[in-house]
């Protein structure tokens, strides 16, 4: 049975901020698409969507989520980017016993210390990003690093995970500097990184912050001076924003690329028709996750969070986004990840032809093994 005779999905995204292109309105579109594709109804009950812009602010996210749960009786919240807000919402959702899906947040805390029986971490996390990109760069000889890190949960999580990879592979971290979220001028951070003489400057940030760092690094002659940039989190939209001229050669890890196979192309073209941009991995993941959630409600016949979560964890995910995907007891959805490289302008044949997949990171290696998880839900 469905409470209140309606299944309500809350979509909370950054609609206008630094991450708006990565998740943002496109994320809302993806969820809408999923609901529409599902038929707008589940078990004869209507599916409704509410969405909000939380501007990457924890307080707005939390107030909104609380109100959604208390007043609007929202059954599931899916979010797009901010790690700090995610950790806060994870706690709230656990307290209110509602399903909470993280599509864009990257911190591994969500499936470790802060894990919850009601939370699903769907697309990627800092562990996956760090191992994919970190390994590749280290193997390329980049064994001394300096980090420019976004000063909040996501940035430090990404830096920590990458540092672990570097140290495992006998590399050195020479220093790190934190910058506030959506800083505009990176020159001073970049000069500090430059002065460290590290071989690699690791950018533990995302979205516009990453774009600005890369652009300004060029201005100050950092790459031409022999240092290498490691962009730890890059989306298709960032490459578009930078232009291939600036972005070419950037190496990064991603969970999805629209031009990977026929299935991804088919879905992505549909998405492009409504959103006028190709999907990022977050947006694709939000569609996939919503579908999986709705299917689980259909299968169990209830919107009761415990039942739905049980079902979601039992059933395998097989769609354009993930093959053989599985949600573990710590809430981590595991699927294959890809190591990608931004194309040179000469290689690009059309507007969105921007990256090539260099290798596939199989799902068992891509994510933190359960054995290392500090999540109390994991039975050891």
């Amino acid at each position: 049975q469905i409470t209140d005779d309606v299944v309500k999905i809350g979509v909370i995204v950054d609609k206008t901020g630094v991450y708006s292109a990565n998740g943002g309105p496109g994320g809302v579109r993806a969820v809408e698409m999923a609901v529409k594709d599902f038929g707008g109804m589940v078990n004869g009950k209507k599916i409704e969507i509410v969405s909000a812009d939380y501007q990457n602010k924890v307080d707005i996210a939390l107030s909104k989520a609380r109100e959604w749960f208390d007043v609007d009786k929202v059954d599931m919240i899916i979010e797009s980017t901010d790690s700090a807000a995610s950790i806060a919402m994870q706690k709230l959702a656990a307290e209110k016993k509602r399903v909470m899906i993280f599509a864009g947040s990257a911190t591994t805390a969500l499936t470790n210390k802060e894990c919850s029986p009601y939370g699903v971490h769907y697309v990627y996390d800092t562990y996956a990003l760090a191992t994919g990109t970190g390994r590749a760069v280290m193997q390329d000889g980049g064994d001394s690093w300096y980090f420019i890190t976004a000063d909040y949960a996501f940035g430090s999580s990404l830096e920590r995970d990458t540092t672990r990879v570097i140290q495992d592979m006998k590399g050195k971290v020479l220093g790190t500097i934190k910058h506030p979220l959506s800083a505009s001028d990176f020159s001073s951070f970049l000069l500090q990184a430059q002065a460290s003489k590290a071989k690699v400057i690791g950018l533990a940030n995302a979205g516009k912050d990453t774009q600005n760092s890369v652009r300004q690094a060029a201005e100050f002659g950092i790459v031409s001076g022999g240092q290498k940039l490691a962009t730890l989190l890059v989306f298709d939209t960032d490459i578009k924003g930078l232009g291939l001229k600036n972005a070419q050669g950037l190496l990064f890890t991603t969970g999805f690329y629209w031009d990977y196979n026929d299935e991804t192309r088919k879905w992505s073209r549909r998405f492009y028709d409504v959103h006028k941009a190709m999907p990022t991995m977050i947006q694709a993941g939000m569609y996939s996750a919503t579908m999986h959630y709705l299917k689980s409600i259909q299968a169990t016949g209830t919107d009761n969070a415990d039942a739905v979560m049980k079902k979601m964890k039992e059933s395998e995910i097989n769609d354009f986004f993930a093959k053989g995907g599985r949600i573990r007891e710590d809430g981590r959805m595991i699927h294959d990840m890809y190591l990608a490289e931004a194309k040179k302008p000469s290689e690009s044949k059309e507007e969105w032809d921007i990256m090539k997949i260099k290798s596939v990171i199989p799902r068992d290696q891509a994510f933190q093994p359960l054995s290392e998880s500090t999540c109390p839900l994991v039975k050891k």
Binding site: K15, T16, G17, V18, Y19, S20, A21, Q55, I177, S182, S184, D185, S187, S188, L191, Q192, Q194, A195, G207, K208, Q211, N212, R215, E219, F220, G221, G225, G241
Partner: protein, 294 residues
């Protein structure tokens, strides 16, 4: 070579960057000082108008194909005209009230401007590239100094000194200074003070827009770029001594440099150093470094 364990190279380059930031502080606090001097209004909207200047530059390029140099001239004029509009329709009615109302009004204008640009362009930045003629960098040996940033420093110093000269050394400046003290009397001498006030506001605002256009290629163009800066600039103005033209220029540049130093020696402090200096200055000289005790 090292100073206190910091490579000289790192220090010099941070100092230069500090000077670039200081140039913006100086231009903005100069505009604030000019406006405060004659209108006795703390122009809270200064940051927002700086942002508008930057956005105009960006919009000029995006919609009208007007390049950087055209917009460097056009944006201040347009923003100045908008300032004239603000003064004539709103600020004008507040002069007979407490000065605080001017602050509150311009605060409201700030919210509106930021809100408007936000609802059209989102909070994240729009990239604006360095004009062709200024791209590339000077190799100073210890660092690559992008030509554009060198230009920012030069342009701002020239603008600041020119403004200072006009106000302190010319007849127009004498009218302005006298108008600051007793506008009614200056008017009784036969000078069109209301016009002078309007134009002064327009000029101050145009200065902010000019700084905005200069900043566009450095910091990207975003609706919140002004509000992040304006509070620091307020502190600069307090330290320099409110209303002091020379004070705002020197303090602006100086604090930029000090911030740069702080980034080398104690990066955690770099954001607060301006405020710490402010607190110290206030304890020792309540009217600010160049201010006159009333």
């Amino acid at each position: 070579m090292e100073i206190f364990g910091i490579p000289l190279q790192a220090m010099l380059s941070q100092l230069l960057l500090g000077l670039v930031n200081g140039s913006f502080y100086a231009m903005l606090s100069l505009g604030l000082a000019v406006i405060f001097g004659l209108l006795n209004v703390i122009n809270f909207a200064h940051g927002a108008l700086y942002m508008v200047g930057a956005f105009l530059a960006w919009m000029g390029l995006a919609y009208f194909d007007a390049n950087y140099w055209i917009m460097l001239a056009a944006a201040p004029v347009l923003t100045g005209a908008f300032g004239v509009f603000i003064e004539k329709t709103m600020l004008r009615h507040l002069y007979k009230l407490d000065h605080l109302y001017g602050l509150l009004l311009t605060f409201g204008i700030t919210l509106m401007l930021e809100g408007l640009f936000r609802s059209f362009y989102g909070v994240s930045g729009q990239p604006y590239s360095v004009p062709e003629a200024l791209s590339g960098a000077f190799n100073l040996g210890f660092m690559m100094l992008p030509k554009y940033r060198a230009w920012v420093v030069v342009a701002s110093v020239v603008i600041c000194l020119a403004t200072w000269y006009v106000i302190e050394k010319t007849k127009v400046g004498a009218y302005l200074r006298a108008g600051t003290e007793n506008p009614k009397l200056v008017e009784a001498f036969g000078i069109n003070v209301p016009l002078m006030v309007t134009l002064t506001y327009g000029f101050g605002v145009a200065l902010a827009a000019f700084a905005g256009v200069l900043a566009a290629p450095v910091t990207q163009v975003s609706p919140l770029m002004g509000s992040n800066l304006i509070i620091v600039v307020f502190a600069v103005v307090v330290i320099g001594g409110m209303g002091s033209i020379l004070g705002s220029i020197i303090t602006g540049l100086g604090l930029g440099v000090i911030e740069g130093l702080a980034r080398v020696f104690y990066p955690e402090l770099s954001a607060t150093v301006v405020f710490i200096i402010m607190a110290i200055v206030l304890m020792l000289r309540p009217a600010g470094l160049f201010g006159k005790e009333k």
